[in-house]
Symmetry: C2
Subunit: 628 residues, 2 copies
């Protein structure tokens, strides 16, 4: 309870506080739109078409619906009820071990035994061979209900997949089954106190021994779920340097470093990994972020994954998955915040129509004020645009996996490479603005702990930071992905947009948006070519100086594409006729599409102007000029 | 300490944590730039010129310097050290009274006895007759050190000024001296559970009696410093309705409602005002925000201020001051956040120049990366732009006060009316983005309690909400101020801009910015005229639908003007020669001016495009379309 002093039924303000309680219990009913999920999976991205591929042939819509239903049940019954409680009771470091909320143990078991961690794994590796599209929508559902709880199985899935992809059969057998079962936690252990964004500078060492293992020494920091008592063991997928290897990123290797190793009798024993600190954070408090110290007793053992010095390349698989995961988490929080503010806006009465000045008329629900509708449409445009982009990305993952043609596989891989920094950053950055607008919608109540908005506001601020800051993503997009393989991913991306435009041309209602998107594509090409010429003529520093702005510019156009793609499905439904009750859904989506094109896409005007200038302002600015 | 588990010198990670401690103690040294304050007061706004007016004739630069020095001392020694501590130990409601941090009692005494609450009051009312320009810069200093502590004397000043302006001699004598002395707290009590932004709907009643007082009944909510044990009494300046008056805002009267009233023996006695709840807030935790219940025992007495039914007009004096105060507070927090992230960027080493890929070279301070400089310049452009605008506003307050010509008085009043919603909203909205970028600058550390950024991020979110939300400010600007008195304030505003442009024309370096500002003025005129014609042809709802965007659009141009005005002073200093050590200050400011014109002003491109469309999207959107 955020207001203290008068518990319900104890004082005369009871009815006021009771309203908050009622509102809270009502609000619990909605943190995501199942209708929009079905729209994306079935109407926009046609998940059923995947079942024509051999790998997915056992599945059908009925299976997908059952999985979604079960994910919603888990989210509603187990995750959402813990959302506030876990924030109010964050993990603590007690005698060298992180104590998390007692429910985490049950949840990890549920995620493991329920097959959620292994959902996309193949049958022979104890998985269910579910499409990524579906699995990631389930992640969206879980994260919308409670992002912190979702981080534990999410990281475990990524770590297990990394061992599956590059580890030996031995490593797989020892670790993966326990991880998929939710008994052992997986982590990604990259960051060090002196090496955050700059992985070239990690100093953790791995000394070869006569055994099958290396001796690991040094510290890691900011490790999510890096230690806790909700599992029997924690398996770190850790970057370290084997002495004598090349300097920088070329000398990084990947190791499995368990918190407890299996001894000769088959029991777990101490592996000299110590949790040396836990961070007190702004939000995302349900999941511990910790510091680790390895090898204080010179007995921390790590097992090499794949070949020496290729660790960063391997780790990029987990990093890229985690980046999409962060985008999904950010989208999920913004989604939950949107429905919380929507519910408030429908029920809170305040003021009158601007055309009705008569103060004796009753106040109207604030959702009827144009400015409140603008706030809600902004949130919805961001949320449903981001959901669409992320589903698009997981569709590429699926197609990459099942395509028989090697050229197709490569195509989807390149598209995914290009879109990963956008799928990570757009929801992260816009999620903050969207949640902040959601909070604004509640006025003073949004600032108070009585409503969940203040927690979403704190929680969502992590996303532009973890798994590579927005600045890093900008450099990745412009400095690496756009110019990859002679610009192939960029050309493929434009093909995708043109293909959507072709499909949209069937619908006269979409004509104006096609025109806008075509203009945006021209701007995107012009800016990109200009920047590449700068790179050739004036060097890399000027080329990348405004990479963060380029990322924003590119992202807006990407989301505009996704909205046009949704527009095709909307128009199809509206023209082919919808059930009466459903028409409002499509009309609302059409307004949201229009909103994106009228309020968001025009931002490329100023961004492209700035990007074309490329005057080196920030390069020239001297450190000394920041004095005073 | 934000990371727990290892206290300094207790474990082997001591040196890492010690670094944080060192950083913290170092950082405490700077939350504001005294250099920039002197630049604004002496070089841009020529505060010394005020001393030619009779009212300020006793003062001179030496006095101003002494006041500034004393304000800095208070801020550094008393306020800043409590910044984090008060956040970690928020007020609580204990047996019907709010317990605040014990330092509040000492601070209120300090603010009272030190003459800070009465600084701008005339000599005959126990004040110091200091210019508002100076007093508000002192407020900036205090709020940058610790916004929460500053709220107590700030509200008390506003409430005392309200009684001084419209209350009887009796009311003045009973209340004002104790308030100015910091013994009694002042508040503004407007909001009610069912009447937040819509004051027309307040239901608090004031029944006339046979005595000199009215009987007050009902509840108020979200009252800052509405009750606490750091003072002997709390004086509410409260809006209520006298039964039988006109409906809506025309029936609102203003009352002084003390927590404790003076009885016939001259002692304080219970006045039937009960603190019924305290809010648990996202931030701004050093100051309690409470619910009040009046008249539960039918014995809450209130004394009418001025005439019946004119309460809202009176209250607007305090509201407008409070709105400027909010803008100042938002600017102050963004300022402190800027210096905290600047300090971090100077000392944190990470990565190399993009042109230096050799991983054996040592890492460089992150301030040398172009993207980090962009973040810092963004913060600085917002912070110093907003500081300038607020000083401009207080200059208008001073000139309004001392001008002998009634036409001049009116001119400054109209300019102030026009700029108040901008001075409130621009720092509030941009402060959030600016603090958020400051947090981003620290990466993972920004998200943790080891550094102050996470607190600034929580604290600053209040500003777009309290004293009228940004949505309300937009409607105030476009729906009221711009069209006031046949557009007089708008015309006067444009004159001010043209006057600055004339002064800037002396300096060739400013030519490009003059051109940009001239273009921006044309856009502002075009958009404004277009919207007014919409209002006449299509009605008020469409006219005001995008008022929030208009506010943003107008604000950016206003800050661009302030940067050009600063540019005049910068160029003057650079040309006339500066002390060697000072040249970096002016060069840095010149870069920041350039940054504003290259990265911020261009945002008017998309805003003006959208505002010219005025297609009624948000008006047409139906509530039912938000279903699903």
């Amino acid at each position: 309870m955020g207001v203290s002093g008068q518990a319900p039924n104890q004082g005369k303000e009871a009815s006021f506080f009771e309203n908050i309680y009622l509102w809270k219990s009502r609000m619990a009913a909605k943190f995501i739109s199942e209708r929009n999920i079905r729209f994306l999976l079935y109407e926009v991205f046609d998940i059923e078409s995947l079942t024509k591929y051999d790998y997915y042939k056992d599945h059908n819509r009925k299976v997908f619906d059952m999985v979604l239903k079960e994910a919603m049940r888990l989210a509603k019954d187990l995750l959402y009820p813990l959302f506030e409680e876990m924030d109010r009771n964050p993990p603590g470091l007690v005698q060298g071990e992180v104590k998390v909320h007692p429910s985490i143990r049950d949840l990890m078991k549920e995620f493991g035994e329920g097959g959620w961690i292994s959902a996309t794994f193949p049958y022979e590796h104890e998985g269910e061979q579910l499409p990524h599209m579906l699995a990631e929508i389930c992640e969206l559902i879980f994260a919308a209900a409670n992002y912190s709880t979702h981080a534990y199985p999410g990281l475990t899935h990524g770590a297990a997949h990394l061992i599956e992809s590059f580890g030996s059969q031995d490593l797989f057998e020892i670790y993966v089954p326990n991880m998929l079962a939710g008994k052992w936690q997986g982590t990604m252990a990259l960051t060090e106190p002196e090496a955050g964004s700059s992985l070239a500078d990690i100093v953790t060492t791995a000394e070869p021994t006569n055994g099958d293992y290396y001796l690991i020494k040094e510290q890691k920091t900011f490790i999510s779920a890096g230690d806790h008592d909700g599992v029997e063991n924690v398996i770190h997928l850790m970057l370290a340097k084997i002495p004598g290897g090349p300097p920088g990123v070329k000398g990084i290797s990947l190791f499995v470093v368990p918190k407890k190793r299996i001894n000769q009798t088959g029991n777990l024993e101490f592996n000299d990994v110590i949790c040396s600190g836990i961070y007190h954070k702004l939000g995302y408090r349900g999941c511990p972020i910790v510091q680790l110290s390895m090898g204080d007793k010179k007995d921390c053992r790590g097992w090499l994954v794949g070949e020496p010095h290729r660790g960063l390349a391997y780790m990029f698989q987990m990093m890229n998955e985690a980046r999409i995961g962060v985008g999904m988490g950010a989208t999920a929080m913004a989604t939950a915040a949107y429905y919380a503010s929507l519910e408030y806006a429908k029920t809170r009465h305040q003021g009158r129509k601007l055309t009705d000045k008569d103060p004796t008329l009753p106040p109207i629900p604030i959702i009827q004020h144009a400015d409140v509708k603008r706030i809600l449409l902004f949130q919805r445009a961001v949320v449903e645009g981001a959901q669409s982009l992320l589903t698009q990305c997981s569709r590429y993952v699926d197609l990459m996996k099942v395509s028989n043609d090697i050229k197709d596989k490569k195509k989807y891989n390149l598209l995914l490479e290009l879109l990963t920094p956008i799928a990570k950053s757009y929801p992260s950055e816009m999620g903050i603005l969207s949640v902040s607008q959601g909070l604004q919608c509640l006025g003073g109540s949004g600032y108070c702990a009585d409503y969940p908005l203040e927690q979403y506001y704190r929680d969502c601020r992590i996303h532009p930071i973890h798994e590579g800051t927005t600045g890093i993503q900008g450099i990745d997009l412009l400095g690496r992905k756009v110019i990859l393989e002679d610009g192939q991913p960029f050309a493929l991306f434009l093909d995708e947009l043109r293909h959507t435009i072709e499909r949209a041309e069937r619908y006269p209602e979409l004509k104006i948006y096609i025109d806008e998107l075509n203009k945006a594509i021209k701007r995107l090409q012009a800016v990109t070519h200009h920047l590449i010429s700068i790179s050739q003529q004036k060097g890399i520093e000027l080329f990348l100086a405004d990479a963060t702005l380029y990322l924003e510019f590119f992202s807006i156009i990407t989301i505009a594409w996704q909205w046009l793609l949704q527009g095709v499905a909307i128009q199809k439904a509206l023209i082919e006729g919808t059930r009466t009750g459903d028409r409002n859904f499509y009309e609302g989506k059409m307004f949201t599409l229009r909103f994106f094109y009228r309020y968001e896409l025009p931002k490329i005007l100023w961004l492209s102007q700035r990007l074309m200038e490329c005057d080196g302002l920030t390069v020239e600015m001297k450190t000394d000029y920041f004095k005073d």
